[in-house]
């Protein structure tokens, strides 16, 4: 070890300076995320329960499902019947249909007879061939934002009226809460990834600080200051300097020390 702490430095390293910096409080964040990850199955199961409830409490219903619209696009979840999945897929494909309108307008949409309804001609024609004759679709709202729609399909014309609209509104509220929950899960995943990256960078810098302390820097602060100064002089990030320092040490220690 050449060039230890400068002799004119009157204050030798205090034990306090050598103490590890207090850890970042990640435990709470990670525990919270673990809870959310566990609730993923819960969300799916509960969503299926809600669509099953919608299908059974509205008499004459063929099937029910939820349409979710987010940054990944439009898709169906918890469909209780295959025809429902097909009818939904047609909406996304044609980019028209009651659920997309319910989602966009944030209002309940009802079709009493697909063979005569003129609002979504292409979709109506396609689903009437699947046997779907009437539809009720309720928007899903989370904190004022529209996140999708929940719908029931029936093979009978004019199957839905004001009573079914009330039931659907109540169930759509429950589905919205569940979906808002699972969207905060993907937010938590993003945060988890960012934290992991941040910790990797933090490790690299901590290692370089350790190297400089072993080579005579008098404190953590001073070692960080050296790294920051080198970063500024070379127009690099402090992480680049730290990684290069550790790499130079492991690759060519003798060469560096002799030079």
């Amino acid at each position: 070890m050449r060039d230890a702490a400068p002799a004119d430095d009157p204050t030798p390293a205090q034990p306090d300076d050598l103490r590890a910096p207090p850890p970042v409080d990640l435990a709470a964040a990670l525990t919270q995320m673990a809870g959310l990850v566990l609730s993923r199955e819960t969300v799916d199961t509960a969503l299926e329960l809600v669509t099953t409830l919608a299908a059974t409490t509205t008499a004459g219903t063929l099937g029910a499902a939820v349409t979710v619209v987010d940054e990944h696009g439009k898709r169906s979840r918890a469909a209780s019947h295959q025809a429902v999945q097909q009818a939904d897929a047609l909406q996304y494909e044609l980019d028209e249909g009651p659920c997309l309108t319910a989602w966009r307008s944030q209002e309940m949409v009802r079709i009493d007879e697909t063979t005569s309804d003129v609002r979504w001609p292409r979709w109506n024609e396609a689903v009437s061939r699947l046997g779907v004759r009437s539809v009720l679709s309720a928007p899903l709202l989370a904190v004022g934002e529209s996140i999708g729609a929940m719908k029931v399909y029936s093979v009978r014309p004019a199957n839905y009226g004001p009573h079914e609209e009330r039931v659907m509104r109540l169930l759509a509220d429950q589905a919205s809460i569940l979906l808002a929950n699972s969207q905060s899960l993907s937010e938590a995943r993003r945060l988890s990834r960012q934290l992991t990256e941040a910790l990797g960078r933090r490790d690299a810098i901590a290692q370089a600080v350790g190297v400089l302390l072993a080579r005579g820097a008098s404190s953590h602060q001073e070692a960080f200051g050296h790294l920051a100064a080198a970063a500024q002089r070379s127009h690099r990030s402090i992480e680049d300097v730290a990684r290069a320092l550790v790499a130079a040490l492991t690759a060519g220690d003798t060469h560096a020390a002799d030079a």
């Binding site: 050449r2 060039d3 400068p6 910096p21 207090p22 850890p23 970042v24 409080d25 960012q194 934290l195 990256e197 941040a198 910790l199 960078r201 933090r202 810098i205 901590a206 600080v209 190297v211 400089l212 080579r215 005579g216 820097a217 953590h220 602060q221 001073e222 960080f224 200051g225 050296h226 790294l227 920051a228 100064a229 080198a230 970063a231 500024q232 002089r233 070379s234 127009h235 690099r236 990030s237 402090i238 992480e239 680049d240 300097v241 290069a244 320092l245 130079a248 040490l249 560096a256 020390a257 030079a259």
Partner: protein, 127 residues
């Protein structure tokens, strides 16, 4: 002390200029070894709580790096690329490999230990 009294305002202005949210900035600050939590950081930027000088310096470094990235991302490339080695349009931290290597070796040998300057106040470089 006036300088330090106003430092938090300077830092918050730099944060806005670098288009960082407070949580984004906190992540960058933690990555550099900062130890204050996100609430303290937010409070400091609003002038409500104080932050140790060293923690302020770590924060200043995080801001300066973000400003530098922002500045480089906004540069307008020329129609003809400059000759090799003179290209200033490369992403942050890819130029001058040899100079950088020798700087790192100096750092390892302890020869570049110039007395520490006050961390440069951030801001102004990304306009």
């Amino acid at each position: 002390m006036t300088n330090h009294d106003h430092r938090h305002r300077h830092m918050d202005a730099a944060r806005v200029r670098a288009e960082l949210t407070v949580p984004d900035l906190w992540l960058r600050y933690v990555a550099l070894g900062g130890t204050a939590d996100a609430f303290d950081l937010d409070g400091y930027l609003q002038g409500l709580v104080s932050l140790e000088i060293f923690q302020q310096d770590v924060l200043a470094q995080a801001l300066n790096e973000a400003l530098e990235e922002c500045y480089r991302a906004n540069r307008v490339p020329l129609s003809t690329r400059p000759s090799d080695g003179e290209d200033d349009d490369r992403p942050f931290g890819t130029e001058d490999d040899d100079r950088f290597r020798s700087l790192v070796e100096q750092l390892l040998r302890g020869r570049s230990r110039a007395p520490r300057r006050d961390a440069e106040p951030p801001g102004g470089s990304c306009s």
